[in-house]
């Protein structure tokens, strides 16, 4: 039957794109794969692709290993800088954000450059809110506000920050952007929460984009092209969305006074 044949041709062509990406060692997109049976086929193909490789071709890229190792080292340093030895628990910690968990998460979110400074801020936070949750967020984003010991730094004038705009700033402890999201001014870390690369502002798309693996964060600091965007039909013309979920960008407190924008940066 011609109709069935055409359907099979179309499916074979679409699924062929998954295979081409997989075998070309690109990142295959679920968009090329129908759910159900084809997902099962995609999985079989992935195992075949891995199993038919020489052992040497199954090894991680040394540059990748080094990059991730640097993140581990920074985590060690930042957590060491807290001055609190990791607690030895007999039982798993209770659900919810314990103090230790909170500080670790914040250390992680700070990314490479800012880890030590943020650790200092997080320690202060733990003291003022033992076992508590992050500061409530007045502007509605889910990203936790970074507070703790620190000081206000002027980073921009409002005149330079039109609606939909973003400006880079750097302080001793923090690399970030101040953004004007429809009249709301916000400060966001410029460090991707995936591997610690520095984000770039894309004016046309109105997002912060990672040059390393293509994560896009919206102006509230949330991953905008994660798996949810994927399930909802893609993201701003990207061929494929970012396949994993990432933590929100760290978000220092910000204030606007007399047309000047100030950001709260942690004490180093």
């Amino acid at each position: 039957m011609p109709d069935d044949e055409r359907r099979l041709d179309e499916a074979a062509e679409r699924f062929g794109r998954y295979l081409d990406a997989l075998l070309g060692d690109g990142r295959p997109s679920p968009a090329a794969v129908d759910d159900g049976d084809e997902a099962e086929m995609a999985r079989t193909a992935a195992e075949l692709a891995a199993g038919s490789r020489d052992a040497a071709d199954s090894l991680p890229d040394p540059a990748f290993l080094d990059q991730l190792k640097a993140r581990m080292r920074h985590a060690d340093e930042a957590i060491g800088a807290l001055g609190t030895p990791p607690p030895v628990r007999e039982r798993p910690e209770p659900r919810g954000l314990g103090r230790w968990r909170l500080t670790r998460r914040q250390v992680l979110q700070a990314g490479l450059g800012a880890a030590a400074g943020l650790a200092a801020g997080a320690a202060g936070m733990g003291l003022t809110r033992p076992g508590g949750s992050p500061a409530p967020d007045p502007t509605g984003s889910g990203a936790p506000l970074v507070g703790g010991d620190g000081f206000w730094t002027e980073v921009a004038t409002l005149a330079d920050l039109p609606e939909g705009g973003a400006l880079r700033f750097s302080t001793a402890a923090f690399d970030g952007f101040v953004v004007n999201d429809g009249g709301t001014v916000r400060a966001l870390s410029a460090i991707c929460t995936h591997m610690g690369c520095t984000l770039r502002f894309r004016e046309e798309q109105g997002d912060l984009r990672c040059p390393c693996h293509g994560a896009s964060f919206d102006l509230t600091g949330r991953l905008a092209n994660g798996s949810r965007a994927w399930n909802d039909g893609g993201y701003l013309g990207d061929e494929r969305a970012y396949p994993i979920d990432l933590p929100d960008l760290a978000r220092p407190r910000v204030k606007v006074e007399d047309g000047r924008v100030w950001v709260w940066t942690a004490q180093v």
């Binding site: 074979a12 062929g16 295979l19 049976d37 891995a50 199993g51 052992a55």
Partner: protein, 171 residues
């Protein structure tokens, strides 16, 4: 002079390559394997108690890796993601007697041979050309004396069969 490695770096040094290979064997491409490996170790920074005995740390890491792989495939099945925070990782090995899979690549190669051996000759041939020899669709078509379109349909049918055979193998 380099600092002596801290607890997370030591965990990483001991397990990074093993976790990577474990993941790579199940997702079949390096970009996704890098993402998921990073996810496992970044989650360790958030949640792993490095004071645990080594065997428990290994079990924890492989369990988190399994969850990450499961989430990866859930996107292909259009299923809601479980999400890292919703899965209790636990300290026990993932299955009784399960050990960190050091012999992973050999076992994967065996599985490929077994699976291909159970397919009809044309299906086996197209998958050998595409996967083992890494030929393009056009090269595969030429080698088999068929059109590109037919080669695409053939690899599609072959994988559909292979998925069924694989399921029977798992059971």
């Amino acid at each position: 002079m380099a600092q002596p490695p801290g607890p997370f770096e030591r965990v990483y040094d001991a397990h990074a390559v093993g976790i990577y290979r474990f993941i790579y064997a199940r997702v079949g491409n390096h970009p996704d394997a890098e993402d998921l490996t990073a996810r496992v170790f970044l989650r360790a920074v958030e949640q792993l108690d490095t004071g645990r005995p080594p065997a428990q740390i290994a079990a924890w890491l492989y369990r988190v890796a399994q969850n990450a792989i499961a989430d990866h495939w859930r996107a292909f099945y259009r299923l809601p993601l479980v999400g890292a925070d919703h899965v209790g990782p636990g300290w026990e090995p993932v299955a009784p007697g399960d050990r960190p899979p050091t012999d992973e690549p050999d076992r994967a190669a065996d599985r490929v041979r077994r699976l291909l051996g159970r397919l009809p000759p044309t299906y086996r041939r197209v998958l050998e050309l595409r996967f083992l020899e890494r030929r393009s669709v056009a090269e595969t078509a030429r080698a088999m004396g068929i059109s590109d379109g037919n080669a695409r349909v053939l690899q599609y049918r072959a994988l559909r069969r292979a998925a069924l055979v694989g399921e029977a193998n798992d059971a």
